[in-house]
């Protein structure tokens, strides 16, 4: 066992650091560009050096590097350290992976390069009102009329729809096919009269999500990824690309350290809260979960490096993070004490400090977003532990 990096990888880290020292933030004239343009410019340079878009062929704007989870980890942590732009995250990463695996030559040429650099921004149209975790029951329809798909329906929980140029969506193109088989994966320009975007305010006052309404919205016939009816398969292949166990577990550690800091600076019974035996006990209990998750990340990274399958542990990360998020939020809420009666929302939020009230409310959103925790438990029970499928789920899959 060795938690350090090899000389070769340490040398690589040095190289990345030198690149970043020169390259980010941009200097001189370039520093006056708009934020998105700066990021795109920087990403182009990073791709040239082989630091970003590593899984994408050069022909489509990527840097086409052999898979190396350790180099990827080093890049991720060094870029994060200086807050440099990285590969676009979810949900755009899902589109990139889908296009790379299932796109036509033309689609890849047209969409991948600007998407990879972040010049072209996408949002994801999966969820619908009335179809939360059950994507197979989507109702948004698309019909091929002449050389265009005509789209009608509604999507919900669409992040970034306010700033995106394009939306990729799952919609029903064959109403007669069985549930999973009648869906297609379409790419649609958001900027058209048939589309309306309405922000959806969350309980904490933020509006990360939107509703997107399609009223005879249109997109060219060849803006479909995969064949008609393959949308379900195409969309599922996307999700496998999200893995980054170490990144996520490091984020959990950072969150925990902030919580410890909160305990140092909060008071309980007139003393620093961190001296309170109950708080110490709860912090140490939480540290057990956080440290488990942290080293579980390194274990999974090692599995990736060795090319081993992750097995059950790979299915647990989301639920583990969610549960830790709940615990952190609850303890933070208790530490906040009477400050929990206040709720500075939107503009009135204090800058800089971690916003524990939002954190507390967001920790609820965590178990809901992208498949509830109950569904995660089903997956772990069935695929991880080999228990039989629910009757209900069997019924649903008919």
């Amino acid at each position: 066992m060795d938690l350090g990096f090899s000389e070769e990888h340490e040398a690589f880290r040095e190289e990345v650091r030198r690149f970043l020292a020169d390259g980010w933030p941009l200097k001189g004239e370039e520093a006056n560009l708009k934020r998105r343009a700066q990021a795109a410019l920087f990403r182009k340079r990073a791709i040239e050096r082989g630091y970003l878009a590593r899984a994408i062929p050069k022909a489509y704007g990527g840097s086409e590097r052999p898979s190396d989870p350790l180099r990827a980890t080093i890049i991720a942590s060094e870029f994060a350290r200086v807050h440099a732009p990285r590969d676009p995250g979810a949900p755009i990463s899902q589109l990139i992976a889908t296009l790379a695996s299932h796109g036509t030559e033309q689609q890849k040429k047209k969409f991948l390069p600007p998407t990879i650099t972040g010049e072209m921004v996408w949002c994801q149209g999966y969820s619908e009102p009335g179809a939360g975790s059950d994507l197979a029951s989507l109702r948004t329809k698309a019909e091929l009329v002449g050389d265009e798909w005509v789209i009608n329906g509604q999507k919900i929980w669409t992040t970034a729809a306010g700033v995106a140029h394009m939306i990729y969506l799952l919609c029903r193109t064959d109403p007669d096919a069985p549930k999973h088989k009648g869906m297609s994966y379409l790419l649609v320009d958001l900027n058209q009269p048939g589309i309306e975007v309405r922000p959806l305010k969350e309980m904490n006052g933020d509006a990360h999500f939107n509703e997107v309404f399609f009223d005879d919205a249109r997109t060219p016939a060849d803006y479909i990824v995969g064949r008609p009816g393959e949308g379900w398969i195409v969309s599922r292949s996307t999700l496998a690309h999200e893995r980054n166990a170490v990144g996520a577990s490091v984020a959990v550690r950072v969150q925990f350290e902030r919580l410890v800091e909160l305990a140092r600076t909060s008071e309980r019974n007139g003393r620093p809260a961190i001296e309170d035996p109950i708080i110490r006990d709860r912090l140490a209990e939480l540290d057990g979960y956080v440290t488990s998750h942290e080293y579980s990340g390194y274990r999974q990274l090692t599995m990736d490096v060795r090319g081993e399958k992750r097995g059950a542990i790979g299915m647990m990360n989301k639920l583990v993070s969610t549960e830790i998020g709940h615990r952190v939020a609850k303890l933070a809420f208790d530490l906040a004490g009477e400050a929990g009666l206040r709720a500075p929302l939107g503009d009135r939020k204090p800058k800089g400090d971690p916003d524990w009230m939002t954190q507390y409310m967001m920790s609820l959103g965590l178990s809901i977003a992208g498949g509830t925790s109950d569904i995660q438990r089903n997956i772990i029970g069935e695929r991880g532990l080999g228990l039989p499928r629910d009757f209900v789920a069997q019924k649903g899959a008919r």
Binding site: P129, L200, K395
Partner: protein, 359 residues
């Protein structure tokens, strides 16, 4: 042995519930929640007409002369409907004056509290978590009070403040008096707005008729908050059950899933027995003085913890919409956050239970 509600008590709850169902449905509740006014005049007038201004005020002063148990039952129903407005502070002010006021003070204020002509509130806490009467620092000298009071419900709209002062006593201060400054707090629960109050040599009138009046009013407040939390929690369960019986996933209503069903059953088992706990706490305030403190703190700690967890569970069962501003769940979640912290945290009250139990 009769540990149940009377016909009159059930009728009181029904009347309030029907009034709120009619006058404060979800749409109206959201309007008030999102609006700028701390007190919605017409809704509050309606409540006053139901008699909510003077339930515990003795009959000679125009009230109904009922017990804290009745006030708590009203509070439960208001909590159930997440009723916005100044009820909590006003009711506690009435309790305080009836308990601690001399004849003159009672005659001057109680009738107008009962009719709602005067809106009152209580200013108990001080900054830094000083909810405990023993820790109040506002000082009375020569008929004037100086000090800062925190987390005062609807002080902005009130005419009269019942202020906690050094030594655990209470004093009356008129809101428009010289030396009274009020600053709105950006509170999480917009159905019960809070203010900070600064008193600088403000003229005051001390309530001195009864011993430990601050402590007793605080305990009454604990009972009312516990009752509110119980009402809110039961309503969260109802809403979650309704949702589970309506929302479909995978071709069936989600109540078919044992995970959902058991979660709802667990929520119910956590909450329903505690109805007897807030009843007992309020009853003890009325009739079992030796157990007043323990029962009040126990009910407040236990039930507001249950409400918080139940509201979180109900949000999760509601899925994404439970998490939005336009949904109803957020309002109950924020009521839970208020109930949990207002008048002191569950942990603080558990420690008080330990202390008064002689542990």
């Amino acid at each position: 042995m009769d540990f149940g509600l009377s016909e009159e008590q059930l009728l009181l709850q029904q009347t309030i519930d029907r009034f709120l169902e009619a006058e404060c449905p979800s749409t109206r509740l959201h309007e008030i929640f999102d609006g700028d006014e701390a007190v919605d005049g017409s809704l509050w007038r309606g409540m006053i007409e139901l008699g909510l201004g003077g339930l515990t005020i003795p009959e000679p002063y125009g009230g109904a002369g009922l017990g804290l148990i009745d006030l708590a039952l009203a509070s439960e129903t208001l909590g159930r409907r997440a009723a916005p407005g100044p009820f909590l502070g006003h009711a506690l002010a009435g309790v305080a004056i009836a308990l601690g006021g001399n004849e003159e003070q009672r005659e001057r204020w109680l009738p107008s509290l009962a009719t709602g002509r005067c809106l009152a509130t209580v200013a108990l806490a001080e900054a830094g978590g000083r909810w405990d009467p023993a820790r109040w620092q506002a000082r009375v000298q020569g008929g004037r009070v100086t000090g800062g009071k925190a987390w005062v419900p609807c002080a902005h709209a009130a005419d009269l403040l019942v202020v906690g002062v050094e030594g655990g006593g209470l004093a009356l201060v008129e809101r428009t008096a010289a030396g009274v400054e009020i600053a709105a707090v950006d509170g999480v629960d917009r159905t019960r707005r809070l203010d900070d109050v600064t008193l600088e040599n403000a003229p005051c009138d001390v309530l001195e008729r009864s011993r430990d009046v601050g402590g007793r009013v605080r305990d009454a407040g604990l009972c009312l908050v516990a009752a509110d939390a119980f009402g809110g929690a039961t309503r969260c369960i109802e809403m979650a059950v309704d949702h589970a019986n309506t929302r479909e996933q995978f071709g069936v209503t989600i109540g078919h899933f044992q995970a959902i069903k058991h979660r709802l059953a667990t929520m119910s088992v956590e909450v329903e027995p505690s109805r007897a706990l807030f009843w007992y706490a309020a009853h003890a305030w009325d009739a079992v003085p030796e157990d007043r403190q323990r029962a009040a703190s126990l009910a407040k700690a236990h039930i507001t913890d249950r409400f918080m967890q139940t509201a979180r569970d109900a949000v999760e069962i509601h899925g994404g919409m439970g998490f939005t501003w336009e949904g109803d769940m957020q309002i109950w979640l924020k009521r839970a956050m208020f109930d949990r912290m207002f008048l002191g945290s569950p942990a603080a009250h558990r420690e008080r239970v330990a202390r008064v139990s002689g542990w």
